[in-house]
Structure formats: C-alpha cells, structure tokens
Amino acid sequence: MNIVVCIKQVPDTKGGVKFNPDGTLDRAAMLAIMNPDDKAGLEAALRIKDETGAKVTVLTMGLPKADAVLREALAMGADEAVLVTDRVLGGADTWATSTTIAGALRNLDYDLIITGRQAIDGDTAQVGPQIAEHLGLPVISYAADIKVEGDSVVVKRQYEDRYHELKVKMPCLVTALSELNEPRYMTPGGIFDAFDKEVTVWGRADLKDVDDSDLGLKGSPTKIAKASDKVAKGAGEKVNLDPAESVAYLIGKFKEKHII
C-alpha cells in the first residue's frame, strides 16, 4: 500500500513569534521545524509501514530550504520525498496551496493521504480537506487514531466532547492531530542515509490538471491585507477592596472582558 504524507516546514512558535518592522513574520529569526500535526501524521504512516510494509512518501511545497523537513522525514523512516517548489507558487492562500498539492499528488500512487490538522503558522486547518475535495476523495479530519483494516482505514475522529469512529474505504485523506502519537526520533544512520538519497523536485510544469489562475499569489482568492503583533497587555491595576466588594469587582471585570 502507498501512503503519502503532506508535511510543511513552519517557524517554531514555541519560543514566541518574532516580527519584522513592517509587521510580517520574521522567519529568519525563528527556527524552522516540521509542523507538529504533520509529524504525528508521518509517525502514524510509519507505524502502518512497520506493521504492513507500506511505502511512505512525503511531500512538501515550499522554498528550496524546505528540503530540510523532507530529510528529517527520510531520517525517521520515510521511503521517498518530493519537494514542490517554484517561484510562481509563492504567496499562495489555502485554495492555491491545496490546488498545487493536489496537482502534485495526481502524479503519485496513493491509497492513503495523511496531512496534519493545521499548521502552527497559518492555523487555518483548511488545506487537508481542500486537497481531498480537489481529488474527489473522502476526508476524515481530526484523527486521534488511525488503523488500517483490509482496504479501509478506521479513524477515531475527535470532537469537542466525544470521538466518532469511522471506517472509510481507501483511497481517502485523513488529517492528523499532534495528540495522535509520540513521533519517533531520527537515527544517526538514518540522517546520513537521508542526505545520500535523492529528493524529487517538481515545479509548476510537473503539476497535473491545474490551471495557472489557481496558483500562487495571483490564484489566491484571499489576500492578507495587514499583519500585526498582539497588542501588549497594559500594566495591571491595583485596587483595595474588602472581600465582598472584591468579588463583585472581579465578576464585573470578567463580564466586561467577556470572560464569563
């Protein structure tokens, strides 16, 4: 069986987010990592590989330096890697991104496509379901568990207050939660092998059945008008009240800020 995992290189937001003076994200100042949900998706695929011998291909769209996350995936145990990179693909919103990735996926054999639930930089959670839509595949999002049974996948889908267990015939697409598993470490030998391997690089010309008008910044229905840092919290306010007044004061403040 063939599994394709779509992964994204994102800035590590753990240590805080840094901005350029013009309000855009200062990517150079932040460490680039594999998006955590995608890493869990990759681990899920590798566990299926451990059990069934499935072939795992990882695919990313990004700048040439996104090659690093593909090497990381290979060092964890993925078999093949594809980098989709082209100047005309830059500035894409989720529509243009999913169109591009679907165009690349049409070149590959897949039974199961796994993406992360959402990327920690854009935080939209839209690309996975949109890819499924482009390819005409069923989609199960928010997977907290993925199992393969014959020609189907059984997925535990997380809701706010419950799980749904769904069984879907392959081919299909699943979006993974980072809570799904604890991704394995790379191995030192795996890293050395990963840098000896060939990463397939595709550009615009390699995308199948896509229209230029759906790609890159030009093909994006949405445009980011403005980005800004969070407004810094003002200084705290100190008040001296007796216990009963304090309660009334706090509840009043909470209501004012819509906390309750």
């Binding site: 090497r71 060092a75 890293i191 840098f195």
Partner: protein, 384 residues
C-alpha cells in the same frame, strides 16, 4: 578548511540535543542522587542507534563518523555526564578495539550485538597497583588446551557489572632481554560476563558521575575460549594504548559537554537573578566571566572536533587526542567552578545542577589518562 558543520552533522546534533533535553535531562538529578545506572535511558539509546554511531552498518552500527559520535557524547554530557560516559566507554573502549583488531568471527559475534546496543561493553586495564603506570599490571593469562585461564583483578571499571562484554588486558609471558631485564608481554582478551571464575567486587562510591557503574573485576581461574584472544599474542599493550587514544576523544567530548551545560545554566541564571536592583548579568564582573568561559569552551570544542576528524582520516591521532582531552578537561573544571561561584549560595545546593557538574568535571582530568599523562604524550611527541 571549513569550520561550519555540514547539514547532516547539524541535523545529527539537533537529534542528540532533542533526545538529551527530552529523555536524559529530567533524570539527571535522580541518577546522581540514587547512584543508579540509567538502564532505561540506555534502552532508549539502543532503540535509536546511539550505541554504535561510528560502526559500519554491516556490523550493526549506524555507519556515521567519529565526529557524529563525539557530538552525541557532547550533547548527552551537557545534561548528564553519567549518560555521556556510558556511551563513550562502550563505544570507544570496547567496540573500537574489536573493530580495529578483531577477526571477522569476533566482529560478527561481538561487534554486532554491541553496536546495536543489545549488549553493553567495558574496558579493563587499570589495577590497584597499576594506574598511570599501566605496565605494572599483574593480571595473568595462561593457555591451557583450548582455553585461556585468567587470574587477577581490575579496578575502577566503567560500565562494570552492567556490561556484557569486557576487553581485558593481561600478561601472557615474561621475556628477558640481553641484559637480563624482565619484560612483561601483555595480550588483550574478550571476556563475556558469566565466564566461569569471573566475578565482580566492590562498587565504587564516587564524588561525581555517580550513576555510572564503576566496579572491581575479579578473575579466579577464569576460563575463556582460546579464540577470544584479541589481536596477536603479546600485542596487548599497543592495543590498549591505541584504544585509549580514541577513548580520550570521547572523554574530551564529555568534558566539553559538561562545560557547555554549565555555561548554559550560568547564562540563564545570571539574566534572571537580581541584586542591587538589576540582574547580575548586567554587572561587568559577570559579563567578563561569561566571555572568558565561552571563549575557552570554543577553543576546547575546536580541539575536540579536530581530534575526531583526525581519527576519521589519520592512522595515528595520539597527540590530537591528548591535547583535546587535556584542554577540554581543564576547561570543564575551570568553567564549572566559576559557574558555581556565579550561582552564589544556590550553586552549592544540590537542587541546582551546577554543583553536580562541578563534581562530574573533576573525573575528566583523571580517567583515561590523567592530565599529567596527556602532558607526557604531548611533550614526548614534541621532544622526539
């Protein structure tokens, strides 16, 4: 000449760093307090191939180079020097001599399970009366039919008792030269735990690296198969010396890691700690100390990495290894002492890791050849 790490080494470092931070750091204090060997960590390191990093793939290893291995010991030692030396003694002192001097059968039988981490290794040269003067060793081995019979004891053996495979140096003959002077001829042997007549004596209670298992080995008519002689008979001493050259790079990496770990703590603490209304990092006294420590550490790192590269490319790297170990060990001692000082009273309390680092640093000036031995090696080469 290029001082930047290539991408695969950079990625390997990030792997070791993440593993050390996530898996090793949370246990470091407990390992020190309880003096318990970190068996669970070793199991995890086995799973991810850390126990055979420079060993070729066909012998169960990872097929990486000495620099990758050195970075692993360095990163582990930043958070736990005990874990660093477990890997170093196993890889440098047990696997390396079998890889270098072993027959194909010995490599198949011993290197494979050692490199995958299924078995743990140790090295036994030192005896109560023979430390720096390793020639003073008394343990003997006599061939009896198809078996070697070992008698004697070894002390201060890292990974003792927990290891499954031991490289043991013993006298196999005594010859007389023309002037009638007696010369001991040593040979190297591979001894399995559980060999008849092989037992363990005292467990050492140490100042530092307290989770590392340091034992006395006892051989009483210990019988091992004839084919467990490692290398040619009578070549045990050069084998031991060659092994220690490699081991010294491992200890240099451990010392480097300890110093780096201590500096990391000092930077974080001095930025946070306030006296006289501002952080102590804002005092020039602190700033200059940090600058001196960072500079010394980088000098040590370059020596250690150079020695690792020399091991990868040269047949002989004794002097490079001796310089790296000497300077890195003395750097670790100086830096950790200064970091305890920067922490003030808190630095002397066991809850803060820096006093552990200071205790751990001291051994790097002693084992696998004292700093004085390194000076002997370096000056010997200079004055040749």
């Amino acid at each position: 000449m290029d001082f930047t790490l290539d991408k695969k080494h950079e990625m390997a470092r990030s792997l070791f760093k993440e593993f050390a931070e996530t898996e090793v750091k949370p246990l470091a204090q407990e390992t020190d307090e309880t003096e318990a060997f970190p068996a669970e960590t070793v199991k995890k390191m086995q799973k991810y191939g850390f126990m055979g990093i420079p060993v070729p793939k066909e012998y169960g290893g990872q097929g990486c180079d000495p620099l990758t291995y050195v970075m692993c010991v360095e990163e582990l030692s930043k958070v736990c020097a005990t874990t660093g030396v477990v890997v170093s003694a196993h890889t440098s002192l047990c696997i390396d001599p079998i890889m270098t001097y072993g027959t194909e059968e010995q490599k198949q039988k011993y290197v494979k399970p050692l490199a995958t981490g299924e078995k743990l290794g140790a090295f036994a040269l030192t005896e109560p009366g023979a430390g720096t003067d390793a020639q003073g060793a008394q343990t003997k081995a006599v061939l009896d039919g198809d078996e070697w019979v070992l008698n004697g004891s070894k002390c201060f053996i890292t990974n003792g008792k927990v290891a499954d495979v031991y490289i043991v140096i013993a006298i196999t003959s005594i010859t007389e030269d023309k002037r009638g002077r007696k010369k001991k001829n040593f040979s190297a042997f591979i001894v399995d735990k559980g060999a008849p007549g092989f037992s363990f004596g005292t467990k050492e209670k140490k100042m530092g690296i307290r989770g590392s298992s340091t034992y006395e080995l006892i051989f009483e008519d210990c019988r091992i198969p004839k084919e467990n002689l490692l290398g040619p008979e009578g070549k045990g001493f050069p084998i031991a010396m060659h092994t220690l050259d490699g081991g010294r790079i491992g200890i240099a990496a451990q010392a480097l890691g300890i110093a780096e770990g201590a500096l990391d703590r000092a930077i974080a603490y001095t930025k946070e700690r306030k006296q006289f209304g501002r952080s102590i990092a804002q005092q020039q006294n602190t700033q200059f100390k940090l600058a001196d420590m960072a500079t010394r550490i980088e000098a040590a790192q370059l020596l250690v990495y150079k020695a690792a590269m020399a091991k990868a490319t040269q047949k002989v790297y004794s002097v490079e290894a001796a310089k790296a170990k000497l300077f890195a060990a003395e750097t670790a001692m100086a830096v950790t002492t200064e970091v305890v000082q920067l922490f003030g009273g808190y630095g002397y309390i066991r809850e803060y890791d820096v006093e552990r680092m200071m205790r751990d640093a001291k051994i790097t000036e002693i084992y696998e050849g004292t700093s004085e031995v390194q000076r002997m090696v370096i000056s010997g080469a200079l004055l040749k």
